[in-house]
Amino acid sequence: MSPYAAKLAFRHLLSHPGQTALLITGVTLGVTVFIFMSALIGGLASLLTLRTVGSIPHIILERPDRDPAILSEAPNVQVITQKDLSRREQIAIWQPAIPIISQTPGVTAFSPQIRGAAFLERGQAIASVGIIGVEPGKLSAMADIDRAIIGGSSSLPPDGILVGSRLAKDLGLVVGQVVRLSSDRGRIRSFRIGGIFELGIASADRQAVYMNFTTARALFDLPTGISRIEIKVEPAIDAPNIAAVLRRSTGLKATAWTEDNAQLFEGLDAQARTGTIIKAFALITIVIGIASAMLLSIIRRQSEIGIMRAMGASKTLVVSIFVLEGTLIGLAGAIAGAALAWLALAPMPPVSEVQSGGLPIDQAQGDFLLAILLTTVAAALASVLPARRASRIDPVEAIGS
């Protein structure tokens, strides 16, 4: 690329400011769309992941399955296996696991829980609920119950429970009311509604009932063991690896959230593909725009090109001039588009604070450098064919006309 080619390319672009500005504006808009799509698709993925993993445990530790494997001697013997229901689904000795868990890298919070099924009765109304007994201070370790409280308080005295908004609506429950819980172990006790929460997750808001750890022990006849340990990790996407570590170090069954959310990943994948297609179209538009503009410019400047060739300019020089012009338009448009997108996306709230109904646009996922790079390369490629055509112009024909 000779300095003279650069000079002629710059000179031509600057000599036609209106036309140059129009072309650059076109590229700018394409690049803005590209970056906007990246930020939106990335932000949507973040939001969905955040919403999904925000209120659920990332890893659940439970008692490993101990049903014996069947060693059948003869292949023609039919064996029917049944789950051994004589033992309770509990982690009998759980205290030794606690220091191991809290020292595992990536773990940010954990919560030993007593879980069980129960019927909640108020007068004639009855509903089946899932009891979650949590240790004091660990109420919001998994789902942020403290922030979800819409009535009453989140404190958990021995006779208090927290119920979800849908359950409260179904049974007409209000704060302060007394209800009866009968557990699947046959125990029946009365509780006062201490608070009502709304997580925005239908199943939790309809079925979950939080209570004090010690109270739950009594209700479910579990003097020492617990049902499970729920764990939060950071980043959430590392859950499968951390689960594998915990499985080895504690000997417990460890289930990562990703195993139960394959659909989410499929959805995110499809969304990312859609984004890629839209971005590709933005690039194609830029390529077509630049290629056709260069072609028109070359047809208009045939005699100029002819005279240069007649006076000793090489084909390489002619190709360089036009490829450079196209590339400069692409680069200028890319930078302008990136700047425009950056300014437009700057006031967007972080994804974690997006209100429902608002678009989750994540500036950090805007792919600014990629957009600039791809656009510049696309612009250079778009001008190669027109430039080669220019270099093949026959000087005699061009000058004669």
């Binding site: 002629l8 005279i307 240069m308 060739r309 006076m311 000793g312 300019a313 020089l317 005699v396």
Partner: protein
């Protein structure tokens, strides 16, 4: 394909100034184009400075053209985005890939010689037709060619401007011993050249 030129036998000496005359369609432009290596003759031989140009590669011909030949056309064909000075430099800068101060210096001298020293930073659209053609003459000389091929260089000019351009060419021819081959329809122009070459239907008449 019809033959345009037939049995042309022409030698041009160093420092010669020749007029190429002939009716429209007689083959003047075609002859200049072939001599200028912009088109290859379909047969015969074409030699200049001892170099065989018929059998030379396209690249060698481009290089030869840039080093040893100058062109002036009926239409000035100046590049509209460049100033007069930059236009004069163009053939040299194209070959070198850059503009140098030596080129700038020489181009300024040439503009001075064609009487346009005060117009060096004007673009072509701010010059008169005669001025543009004088810039084109200056441009043809930037690479110090041995031969300048001029195809009706005054065809677009009024009488006064045409005389000025011809006088300029004569002066340069005398001062630098650059050869000129100038096609024209104009007897008045032809009389200012020392040699007359007349074409009729693709043949040289005597």
């Amino acid at each position: 394909m019809a033959r345009v030129l037939k049995g042309i036998d022409l030698a041009i000496d160093y420092g010669e100034m020749a007029a190429l005359l002939g009716p429209s369609g007689s083959g003047k432009s075609t002859l200049l184009t072939i001599l200028g290596t912009l088109m290859r003759a379909s047969g015969g031989s074409h030699e200049m400075l001892g170099i065989d140009l018929i059998n030379a590669s396209e690249k060698q011909r481009t290089e030869f053209r840039s080093r040893h030949l100058g062109f002036v056309f009926q239409f000035h064909h100046l590049l509209p985005d460049l100033t007069a000075l930059e236009n004069v430099m163009m053939p040299a800068a194209s070959a070198a890939g850059r503009e140098t101060s030596a080129m700038r210096h020489r181009a300024a001298e040439l503009l001075n010689a064609v009487g346009l020293a005060d117009r060096r930073d004007y673009r072509p659209n701010a010059l008169s037709g005669g001025q543009r053609q004088r810039v084109a003459v200056a441009r043809s000389l930037i690479n110090e060619p041995v031969l300048v091929l001029a195809d009706e260089p005054t065809g677009n000019l009024d009488l006064a401007s045409a005389d000025k351009v011809m006088e300029l060419i004569r002066r340069i021819n005398e001062a630098t011993k650059t050869s000129f081959l100038i096609s024209t329809h104009d007897e008045h122009i032809a009389t200012q050249c020392l040699r007359r070459i007349e074409l009729f239907d693709g043949r040289i008449a005597d």
